[in-house]
Amino acid sequence: MKTEQHIDEFIRREKETIPNPYLSTRVMAKIEGLEKVERKKNTLWQTLALAAGMAAVAFLGVSIGSSDVKSGTKERILNINDRQIENLGYYNLGEDE
């Protein structure tokens, strides 16, 4: 019987314990903090996605540009030796010269 009373007394004492009156404020602050972190994470992902997208577009552009040059006509080099060109000045000379 006495044991029962002691248990009741122990439980009554624990039930009388009051939490910190600012506990709800603390929890709200914690929740807001977690939401901020979440928002930051989302912003970071968006930035990374944007950067990756831009890099992909640039790479694609370069690849397409390169492939276009390769598939075009063959390169030709025109090598002109000035010494072998006939001097056209002769044809401009007059009869009396």
Binding site: N20, M28, I31
Partner: protein
């Protein structure tokens, strides 16, 4: 404002509604946690975790059960998890708290006996198997009827009655040994 209205407001992004819900149920959660951890600091920490978990998973609440039943389930799980992860620290703190529960009217010897008795009661409650302890705490700390405890623990009322009976017997056995 009813729980359902508050929950709908919270889901639509109203932070003040969550504060109202928390203030409504804070004492209930804190008392239940106290039954498991026995120290004010730990009980506050677990209560905080419980409400953060509630906030994060409120959108998944199905309204199949009462909100308080759902909240009790989260509270019991969070308390048991906290005990599993922080057993050593908690034991030391709970001893400190138990020793600090002293009365001015008692002599030093009586105080010592009182502290020793509280320590033994706390240890006896903690040594109960998880299901017996949960049923005992919900019954004695929260004074819930067996029907409600059965809903929280997802068991029949008969099973709860048995658990409470066994918890009582076990406590008597543990505390009768000098």
């Amino acid at each position: 404002m009813s729980d359902e209205q508050l929950i709908n407001d919270i889901i639509s992004g109203n932070h003040a509604a969550f504060k109202s819900l928390m203030e409504k149920y804070q004492q209930q959660v804190f008392r239940t946690v106290m039954g498991f951890v026995h120290t004010k600091e730990d009980a506050e920490e677990v209560t905080q975790d419980v409400f953060i978990r509630v906030y994060q998973s409120l959108s998944t609440f199905q309204h199949n059960a009462e909100f308080s039943t759902w909240l009790y389930r989260i509270t019991v799980n969070a308390s048991l998890n906290a005990l599993r992860s922080n057993r050593k620290n908690r034991l030391l703190q709970s001893l400190e708290t138990i020793f600090s529960l002293r009365s001015e009217e008692k002599t030093p010897l009586e105080e010592l006996e009182y502290a020793e008795r509280n320590k033994r009661i706390g240890e006896a409650i903690d040594s109960l198997p998880e299901k017996q302890r949960t049923a005992f705490i919900l019954s004695r700390y929260e004074e819930l009827p067996q029907k409600k405890i059965a809903a929280v623990m997802n068991r029949s009322e008969g099973a709860i009655e048995q658990l409470l009976q066994r918890a009582k017997e076990n406590l008597k056995k543990k505390l009768s040994i000098p």
